[in-house]
Symmetry: D2
Subunit: 404 residues, 4 copies
């Protein structure tokens, strides 16, 4: 059913990426995931010429920015393939949060920003981060925020406290979500997005927040940051004052497609490991584990659920391409929670099929079990997306359900 959504160019490219991953990336994962990530980053960047030659560098971007001019559904399919390895997206220079920041600058950045940052990001020379979440405010209510940027002449003076600023460690700059217009009538018109170079005085890097047993490092980390009288020129404002939420929305649509397809890639890899285990592990000589009906149930249910999610996400990608961000909101909300819940189930079944081996780091299963628990939390919890989707549906039935 995807035929109509896939160019010949992509059909040729996908198997090449798959082969590359299987031959050169999967075998390196176990070592990579136990090394300091800043070292891993360097090693991964050495693949750059190869990826460029393959015609797959910056696969999410237009040619103008060193990319490949793929459509949204095509981008989705690439995202799935790369998702099969925790290293995939980074190698192809389309890792979060840089992919989103690149898109933002591409569409809304000033010429100066493009020259200074964007041109180096698309070459994989620098990394960036996105500083939105605050420890003292609920993520499910995005208009509820404490960090402020107060204008003082030609500068913004920024004060506040953020965390889960992913990949801040080693980043060149942060895009900071800040309240600039507290007096605006609409709560959705109070914030702005502002670029803050990480070496600006007052940008106080507190720590990489330990997540699931690791502080992380480099690209693979989540920083806590205190902004204390940080001063940046007003020209660091992205777009207009008060457009912070609008820009964030703009970013979320494609971002969620990317996440969901990456999760599907993870799920496919787990599925593959589960099947391999089912045929190789013997309960007794000649009796493979796959004889067990529980294992058969897991395999069948996982196959069905992964397929369903792929169709859903491709459908949403198509909707996004055709109807734009706003028109595709229901589809986007739907895939976010639906795919995240599928991911948890498939990972868990794959681990259970592996028995004791499943909880070790000898396979990537335990890594995803830990690192992707957040899939049901980041970019909006499942519960938030469900409520939001239901309210949109009930509105069509003539009733506007209030937030409670």
């Amino acid at each position: 059913m995807f035929d109509s959504l896939t160019s010949d160019k992509l059909k040729e490219l996908l198997p090449k990426i798959q082969t590359f991953l299987e031959d050169e990336v999967f075998p390196f994962e176990r070592e990579a995931l136990s090394m300091p990530f800043k070292e891993v980053e360097k090693i991964l960047r050495e693949f750059k010429p190869k990826i460029k030659e393959m015609g797959a560098w910056n696969p999410y971007l237009p040619k103008r920015w060193g990319g490949q001019d793929f459509t949204m559904p095509e981008v989705a399919r690439i995202g799935e393939v790369l998702g099969q390895s925790p290293l995939g997206h980074f190698i192809f220079n389309c890792q979060a949060p840089d992919a989103g920041n690149i898109e933002l600058l591409m569409h809304f950045g000033s010429d100066e920003m493009k020259e200074k940052y964007l041109s180096r990001m698309v070459e994989g020379e620098i990394r960036s981060c996105f500083s939105m979440t605050e420890p003292h405010f609920a993520g499910s209510n995005p208009v509820h925020m404490g960090l402020t940027a107060v204008r003082d002449g030609d500068e913004y003076v920024i004060n506040g406290h953020k965390w889960f600023t992913s990949s801040a460690d080693g980043a060149e700059f942060a895009i900071v979500m800040a309240i600039t217009n507290p007096e605006a009538e609409s709560p959705y018109a109070r914030a702005s997005q502002i670029i803050v170079p990480t070496n600006t005085p007052g940008f106080n890097f507190i720590r990489n927040v330990p997540v699931m047993g690791h502080a992380g490092e480099g690209w693979h980390s989540h920083a806590e940051i205190k902004y204390e009288n940080v001063r940046v020129p007003v020209s660091n404002l992205i777009g207009m004052e008060g457009s912070g939420f609008l820009l964030a929305q703009e970013r979320l649509g494609p971002g969620r497609i990317h996440h969901c397809m990456r999760w599907i890639g993870i799920a496919e890899r787990c599925f593959d490991l589960m099947c391999k285990r089912a045929v190789s592990r013997e309960l007794s000589p000649g009796k493979p584990l796959g004889m067990k009906q529980s294992v058969q149930n897991w395999i069948a249910e996982s196959r069905a659920e992964i397929n369903a999610c792929r169709l859903m996400v491709m459908n949403a990608a198509h909707a996004l391409q055709v109807k734009g961000n706003k028109g595709a909101r229901e589809e986007i909300s739907t895939i976010k929670f639906y795919t995240a819940e599928m991911l948890h189930r498939v990972i868990n079944r794959a681990i259970q099929t592996h028995g004791a081996l499943g909880v070790t780091d000898d396979t990537p299963l335990a890594f995803w079990y830990r690192e992707e628990r957040g899939a049901s939390i980041y970019d909006g919890t499942n519960e938030t997306h469900k409520a939001s989707l239901a309210k949109k549906i009930l509105k069509k039935y003539g009733v506007k359900v209030k937030n409670n």
Copy 2:
């Protein structure tokens, strides 16, 4: 994403069917479901001229047999729309098991059979039944069967015991699955399908088996039948001797698409009733039930699950069209259990949203709750389909898992 699968003709037809159902069928349901079904059948047949005029009579059939030449994916979409009412398929003359029997005779029937039966079936003048399931043999093992047809000159002599011969009450003939070649090496080459007119001596109609509190009647029933020295001419054999399973397989592919799309239609209707209830029922003045997050969760999850199933089934219909019955087996197994499980969840949520009203017969919810419990059982239990799918998958990994 369905655009490429849908002709303009269908795009025009679907809203007409929808309007017809909403205006003339939904309001009659409650009364119809409390009447003897043989009377209901007569009333429903009065719609025939209207349906013909609409260009929707026999929507699953080619023009040659009074149908509309729709493709498999188009047929699927019609099936969903009709599924919204328990009366839908009958009105349009594409109810099970007749739809399957028609297809069988169309492809494998002799000229005599076509003239004698098929031509009257496509006009909705007679009904038929399919006599396969036996009370003493497990349905999940189709080669395990007791009824025999022994050749005696130009006749078969049939003896055995069947039940769940759906719609036998009032049918003109039964297609009977019988062991004709017990000595065949392959257990899959032992049975044949034979036409038995219901007025043949020895065709002993024992009872309509009471299902979920009702014996049922007419089209809407499941008979227990004892075949005692039933004699029919050998020309009543469909296809070749020993081809019974092959023909049954042939029938099951499209049959499962039809069931699944009908279930999606049911689910959509339940979803609609759930949303209407969520906005109309008030917990206290001005506070609609839809404010409750549990209800919101049910709405969002149901929306996601129905959408996913539709994409899955349409994808399977497309595969069936392109790859044929055998090529699409995995897709068919997958949708059977996946859609059935979705259906149960959506019906249950809709009932729960209605509270006490949900268990009454004042809405069609309780009807589907009862009648469609079988969706996870008939045409192969969910467990059978899961095991079968898993084994096909594991085979690709190089291991043939034995039946245990």
Copy 3:
């Protein structure tokens, strides 16, 4: 662990009841459930001398009222045993809603009420009903009600609309929940419970509401009733004016224990049928269905869940005995939703294990599947009980969560 909660008398009685059910009641069920229930009632009452002789008549009542002076936990255990048959409670004269009405009159009825009604109820000579639920008001908000009883001299004049007045068909009288004090400050002090003989003019019996395909009859039915200028003497008031909710609460604690233990009895019977099927049905010669791991999973999970529920309900019964209705509220809320959800799962697994047979009326499984869908709805939906329990818990953490 129940030893300390069970008297020797009960230990002797339980196996007698079990034997009686297995020998005389189970074999009659299939016939009984297809007969008009008013006839069944008469047949069942013929067991009365036998039950009296067994020392098990009115097992929930004190000796003073023809009962057996069992403790709450003992009553619970009897309730489980009786629950194994849809006919059990009626035969022993402890069926809902009479059991609750008896208890109410016993504690709060006037001498006149006791003489006129109670003395005949405990002999099984008359039946009664409880008229609370209204079609136009949400059951989850019990202070929201439309039926009024207005004092006019020595009479109440009652007007309003009720449904799900279970067992009204053939009942001698209804206990009606009515708004008598609309001006009371607390919404919980506005209603009263009033006895209305069913032959009072203006007591308009509209219909037995068809539930799950059947209107029902007699004890086994749910009436819709319109009260139009019904006049009864003020002496028909039970307790004090405005005490309606208080009395209802009083009734609900033990009532929920009764329901839950009955459900456990149902679950045990389903479990037994499931196991019998697992060992008797063969997939192929010598291979019982119970070889399938899915079936093993269902058996193991059902065993665990039923055991857990029994411990929970016995614990709640003990709490009710020791701490009273108010002190045991958390325990009571907990068992209501927890046991109802278990019941649905166990019934569904037992049906699935039976395949096609499971949806027929040849076993009692389909009866319970239909009739007990309401377990998650009546006496408070699962969602209402969960919210109520959570709020009680959070209150201990210092926060009173508002109703939304």
Copy 4:
């Protein structure tokens, strides 16, 4: 309902332990879990005098071995309280696998073993490990094992490969499960348990297997060990030759009670954190997170499920006390999978309630999410226990279901 199972002595002790944990252990957890565990062990041992004074040292042991003479149900209750902290069991000297090894030596060890090892273990001076699981054999089939101990004069010569030898790092000795009698008719009579000091030549410690991102250290680790021509005197045999499985069984009953009660302790702590979060986190000013019905559902369901598991495990502990290991097998199998599944659900809900904070190491939730994923795997997977329980049940129905 536990009153009859709990002595006054225990009733006095439990609140003391609770207070001690809350005041001195909980606040130290975050630091401890980020330190090398060998250092943590030393710090925790400093509490020994305090615990002894409290009368809670070795709470699982009889007075003869420095314990407290508690019954099995009492031991269970203590296990729950200690389980609230990842450090609890170690501080009180009843951590796995030492607790099990102590019990084994106490019952089956020679006088020499008792003097040399047991006397120092009960003082917390040395640690031990249990070496059973092998990487190349399925844990669900315990008679399938590769490591052998061949008798050579007065010595056993041991060769083989083990992993998940928990706490081997820093242990004084291992109890090794070895095939000593390969020719024994019953596969259950082929193995023996043998003590191997960890400094014996040929005891090759390969690595601490990284589990969920950490290699672990000291008590908190899982070693891979190669036994290469390891020689130990035959007097190191525990019990008789060929009694290995019997002894393992002996150990598993109480061991599973301990695990389950520890999990209940974990679940209670998670529940407490979830409720605290629900009242302290605000969606907007004055609107606590606990207003959300999804959160209320999680709280109510968790409360019900934890209570149910506690009753189940206490009931099993009581059965173990009264009926012994063999008599209580069904109860033990039941609680193992039932409690493990509850644990995963409660941890997940608590994390989800915490949002981003839930995946950080700022609470112990993420630790348990990782470390206790294994609860459904170690000591028999959930699937193994379910199959085993179902087979025991079906045997009572007269059919012995074969292993498939």
